[in-house]
């Protein structure tokens, strides 16, 4: 792991690489470097993209995109430390104009994850072939997983307008 850290630091500039705990490597990179780091890691054998996620840091007015990678086994029945490692690649994009390049050319299975983030956080992934709705039925003014979308307030606003059946029964 330390070796990987060194290789990464020598191959790329402005990276912050840390090892927060055993078998976990965190990389913080600028937005433009994500694609090249992902393809570099893929060439090093970390070819399983487990998750693409997003955290809304509303106070800092930024979205944090998270790519979690791990390695498949090299041999069919030999377990090494390599598969144990999870690499967490993080990058920040502005909340005002949330845009990022898609990673589908490198990892095919990023397609639904990016589609989900587009729908729930409103992040545009350039080059994504279908940023169509995945889960939601309606269009919300604020994408619903952002921190400034208050679920409870929304529910109250929408459903308070509909009268209760009980009230009607009382009247007749």
């Amino acid at each position: 792991m330390n070796k990987l850290k060194e290789t990464l630091e020598s191959a790329f500039s402005d990276l912050q690489v840390s090892i927060p705990e055993d078998d976990r490597l965190t990389i913080f990179a600028p937005k433009d470097a994500v694609l090249s780091i992902l393809s570099f890691l893929k060439s090093k054998g970390y070819e399983h993209l487990a998750l693409v996620s997003c955290v809304d840091w509303i106070e800092e007015e930024e979205f944090e995109l998270i790519y979690i990678l791990s390695a498949y086994m090299q041999k069919d029945d030999e377990y090494t430390d390599k598969e144990k490692t999870n690499i967490i690649l993080k990058t920040r994009i502005s909340r005002e104009k949330p845009e990022c390049t898609t990673v589908i050319p490198i990892f095919k299975n990023a397609e639904p994850y990016e589609r989900e983030l587009h729908e729930l956080f409103g992040i545009r992934f350039e080059g994504h072939p279908r940023l169509t709705p995945l889960f939601l039925e309606r269009e919300y003014k604020i994408p619903p997983f952002r921190k400034d979308f208050d679920t409870r307030e929304y529910v109250k606003k929408v459903f308070d307008e509909i009268p209760f059946v009980e009230d009607k029964i009382g009247q007749t």
Binding site: E21, A50, Y79, I88, P144
Partner: protein
């Protein structure tokens, strides 16, 4: 021939669960398949940001209806990691036993769905009956049949009741004694072979490319199993094998499921034998005033469907800041399914989907 659009599900005999596939067909051949999740989107990950760490347990287990225990386990593991809580040795063993029991129950449920699709109604009823026997065990242990909320941060909720080990052994023996019947009626049945061989074939390279884990990958020969790759609970304490097959089709996947059930049962016997005495629970702080230090973590377990991960972020408060589950059905249903259905026939859609072991609530979350 004329191209048609065909809706497969959510109301369809070949569809288990709230999921639908839009097929573009020409005659019987599928030109293009589009998976449509979202019929069960409850926004759990958002709702969890409004509830305290402990209050989230009733929601976590509902993400995968069929196998709630591994969801509890992955959430408990993440909370333990962020808060730095140790788990007693005995609790590790009990957790592993409960997880394996739920794996058996989940596989029996999967077998029910699959056998039903192929028209093996008798086998399906057997599987459902045997799953019920496992649920009886859970009822005695936890009070709940389907949702258990038994695995907590710091251990498990309570110790095994008196005589419970013997009950597990008796129940598993009575299920295990039916394996020859299952084999004769289903697994060695020529009809199963004819119907499943070569269906929904995924090669090793395709599986790796599409982020597949679990049976989809193990059916191509790779012994990739998080229980071995990154052992948790007590999985590194007893010897056990990872069953695999070579062909990567529906037939191989269902055989992997069968072998895995048998391996799980053997593993439970070994775990029960080796289980140490002692505490099962390390006290955690008052859940209403429990602030977890700032941090983030990614943990993963092997659910009955593949790699189940959780990315959990805390900003030092009494509620999670961000929760994101990496559920195994997500890539299987959205990426793999769309790929393998291309050029398949309409009659094989249900067969393929259930052999990929797709659970809709897990995709939507």
């Amino acid at each position: 021939m004329r191209e048609l659009e065909l809706y497969f599900g959510p109301q369809h005999l070949g569809m288990v669960g709230n999921f639908s596939i839009t097929l573009k067909v020409e005659g019987d051949r599928i030109l293009e398949a589009t998976a449509n999740p979202g019929y069960l989107h409850r926004g759990f990950e958002k709702l969890m940001e409004y509830r305290t760490w402990i209050q989230n347990f009733p929601m976590v287990c509902r993400i995968n209806v069929i196998e709630p225990d591994s969801m509890e386990m992955v959430y408990a593991m993440a909370v333990e990691k962020l808060a730095g809580i140790e788990v007693p040795e005995r609790a590790h063993y009990i957790r592993a036993v409960v997880l394996e029991l739920s794996r058996v129950a989940s596989h029996l449920f999967g077998l029910w769905a699959y056998a039903n699709t192929l028209g093996f109604d008798t086998v399906a009823q057997w599987a459902m009956y045997h799953r019920d026997l496992v649920l009886d065990l859970f009822e005695e242990l936890t009070g709940g049949r389907v949702y258990h909320i038994y695995i907590w941060p710091g251990g498990v909720r309570r110790d095994l009741p008196e005589g419970f080990k013997d009950k597990i052994v008796t129940t598993l023996h009575s299920i295990g004694s039916c394996v020859p019947d299952y084999d004769a009626a289903f697994f060695n049945n020529r009809l199963f072979y004819e119907r499943a061989k070569g269906i929904g074939k995924v090669t090793r390279e395709e599986a790796k490319e599409m982020g597949a884990t679990g049976q989809v990958l193990r059916a191509t020969g790779m012994k990739y199993d998080i229980r071995k790759v990154e052992p948790y609970a007590a999985y590194d304490k007893v010897p056990w094998e990872v069953p695999t097959r070579e062909d990567g089709d529906a037939f191989s996947r269902i055989w992997v499921v069968r072998d895995e059930m048998i391996e799980s049962v053997h593993m439970i016997f070994k775990l029960l034998d080796k289980m140490p005495e002692g505490e099962v629970y390390n006290r955690v702080p008052n859940p209403f005033k429990w602030n977890i230090p700032k941090g983030e973590t990614y943990v993963r377990v092997e659910s009955s469907r593949g790699e189940l991960g959780l990315y959990l972020v805390s900003n030092g408060e009494d509620k999670p800041y961000r929760v994101h589950f990496r559920t195994p059905s997500y890539p299987h249903a959205l990426t793999v399914l769309e790929k393998v259905l291309r050029n398949a026939s309409i009659a094989d859609v249900g067969n393929t989907m259930i052999s990929l072991y797709v659970v809709a609530p897990e995709i939507d979350r």
